[in-house]
Point group: C2
Chain length 378, copies 2
């Protein structure tokens, strides 16, 4: 298909034909985003194990492996089951508690498998399930790097779990963490990452002193991605968002405007209330996620970032027109960059893949379910 308008333009014939709200992915930007991470990881000697929670899709898992990922990180068993055959090497970065989850874990098709955990209870469950199934499951001990969500924060606790792992007959791979508390601009991250390094350093020293030095130190998020090499001893990064990026990533400076690969196409459905326009992408399409650094709104227009999504209802997004002279008409289409892409993707049945000069291709978000298979056809 040949056209004068660029593919990003809502007037482009490919976009005009889609029913809204529709999630769009610009594939050329995805390829560039993946190449950028791959190059960075290689330059700093870091293994790249992207988190698949962002896309939950075979298509993008395959692209990540082709671009040089050593394997994938997953959060749910459904992600692991759907993507294990593609990656072959999976890290479940989530404590697998409960019989059903443990059974699914040891039945995964992945060639190589590890889990991240922070408790003796989780370790005991994994050890028992692995033994019963005759399946090797490596263990990564989760360390709290300052976020205060998961992870042991006392070096002795990390040593106890590492020793427990070995005692249970499981391979101890190393330590992992998630620096989710670091959401500042790149230039201001250094101090926070020094504190992360200090916490990790104490754990690594204690492990080494106990004769259990970690072969892998796995961490990293998209906001901290480009400063990963400043974290002492890091061997592996696990960014998720960076494949698509989002408004939060742009606001902290971890991506440029032309690296925003994911948007939600929406139609203006009302301009009845002055000073605003209402579109058909609400919290059930964008997700209600706050922006970092005190920025307002739940998203912003791709082509007019000064226009933010001021309010959300389930099927309504209210565009704030106070910073623009633009006045859309009912029926006009816009593209919205959500604050947090992982949440928005999880709300979609599928994504429309855009390639210059081609029709949009539908790609299912095939791992957004949770159960292995629905009890009924439903």
């Amino acid at each position: 298909m040949s056209t004068a308008t660029p593919a990003s333009d809502p007037l482009h014939p490919v976009l005009a034909a889609l029913e809204t709200p529709a999630a769009l992915v610009e594939m050329e930007r995805v390829r560039r985003n993946l190449a950028r991470v791959s190059t960075y990881a290689a330059a700093h000697g870091l293994a790249w194990r992207p988190h698949a929670k962002t896309h939950k899709s075979r298509r993008f898992a395959g692209m990540q492996m082709q671009a040089g990922a050593v394997g994938l990180t997953v959060a749910t068993l459904a992600e692991a089951e759907e993507l294990g055959a593609i990656a072959g090497d999976l890290l479940l970065a989530y404590p697998p508690l409960g019989e059903a989850r443990l059974r699914r874990l040891v039945e995964l098709p992945a060639r190589r498998l590890a889990v991240m955990l922070d408790s003796a209870e989780a370790l005991a469950g994994v050890a028992e399930a692995a033994r019963a199934a005759g399946r090797e499951v490596e263990v990564v001990v989760e360390v709290d790097a300052g976020m205060g969500r998961l992870g042991v924060d006392v070096p002795a606790a990390a040593v106890a779990l590492a020793r427990g792992t070995v005692d249970a007959g499981l391979p101890f791979r190393g330590v992992g963490f998630y620096p989710g508390h670091v959401r500042s601009r790149l230039a201001e991250q250094r101090g926070q990452l020094r504190a992360v390094s200090a916490r990790l350093g104490a754990v690594r020293e204690a492990l080494a002193a106990a004769g259990l030095p970690p072969a892998v130190v796995s961490g990293g998020s998209t906001p901290t991605l480009w400063c990963s090499h400043e974290i002492d001893g890091l061997t592996e990064i696990r960014p998720g968002t960076s494949i698509f990026n989002d408004r939060s990533t742009a606001l902290v400076g971890a991506c440029a405007a032309d690296e925003l690969a994911y948007t939600v196409l929406a139609t203006v459905v009302s301009t009845a209330v002055p000073g605003q326009a209402v579109v058909d992408a609400g919290s059930k399409a964008l997700g209600r996620e706050e922006a970092p650094l005190g920025a307002a709104g739940f998203g912003a227009l791709l082509e007019r970032p000064e226009v933010t999504v001021r309010a959300l209802s389930e099927e309504h997004g209210t565009l704030d027109l106070s910073q623009t002279d633009w006045r859309p008409r009912v029926g006009e289409r816009v593209r919205i960059v959500p604050n947090h892409v992982c949440i928005s993707v999880n709300l979609q049945e599928g994504l429309w893949l855009l390639e210059e000069g081609a029709d949009a291709e539908w790609s299912p978000v095939s791992a957004r379910h949770r159960l292995r298979r629905p009890p009924t056809a439903g």
Copy 2:
């Protein structure tokens, strides 16, 4: 199945067998909730047209019709397609913009069909599609009752749309509104609802003076549900949440604790960080929705409402233990009442229906998709 523990107890064998996170619905509470609304509506001479966005399910649509609903309200075409055969009488409370949506609208199986809209553009589209399909579509003109989201706020604009409806050959049914700005406690709603009555009164007068008196005045939400009879001239209520209720509904006093029919069963996956416990229900299971009236947290435990969900990640909910002596162990299960049930239901593939003395039954959330049918099997 006979057991000593009540069905609401996470130790109940039926609950212990489910993989978490799992959305649970107590059916006896649903039946009571429906009977309560039905009785209230009948007592005040109001038609009851519940909003199906809350459950998006055939099962619950059927229960609503059996309990005395005159028809259903829907927000999306998928809801209309999935539930039209059950209800027979549908109000699409959303402006249908765009060719695809209009085509789906006029092809709906419902016996009786109306749309709510607030613009000449939306009206023109509906009129053209109805004419082309030879399908009768009634029009409800949306009025802004003070929320400032959708709806005309000048009586003359309502008259113009009503006249435009008649001129286009479509039946003008009346006016509709959504008092989404009223989120105060029941006892404090009176003043706000007087303002709603005043806005509606001006519109009704102008329409009557123009010879277009509205046969229907349709409004209402769950927080304002039990004060609906205080809105002058109201003929129809469209509550959604009231079938299940949620923490927000309880906080404003529009439901009692034993009317909370929906919860998310979750497993404690970490207690490594002191003062908190992390469960496996995060923003991808509960939804990140703020509580009304300045209340903290994104949800609270059913059996311990003083324990709130302080923070959410995608797959993590952090329970605040500062107001309790209870200290859960890793692997323990809890039931969480989300702040906003409609958002949580939309995140589920299906709901587990609980009946005393029976196994849990799986019920698919069959209208959470958007497209009529996926372009590929996916």
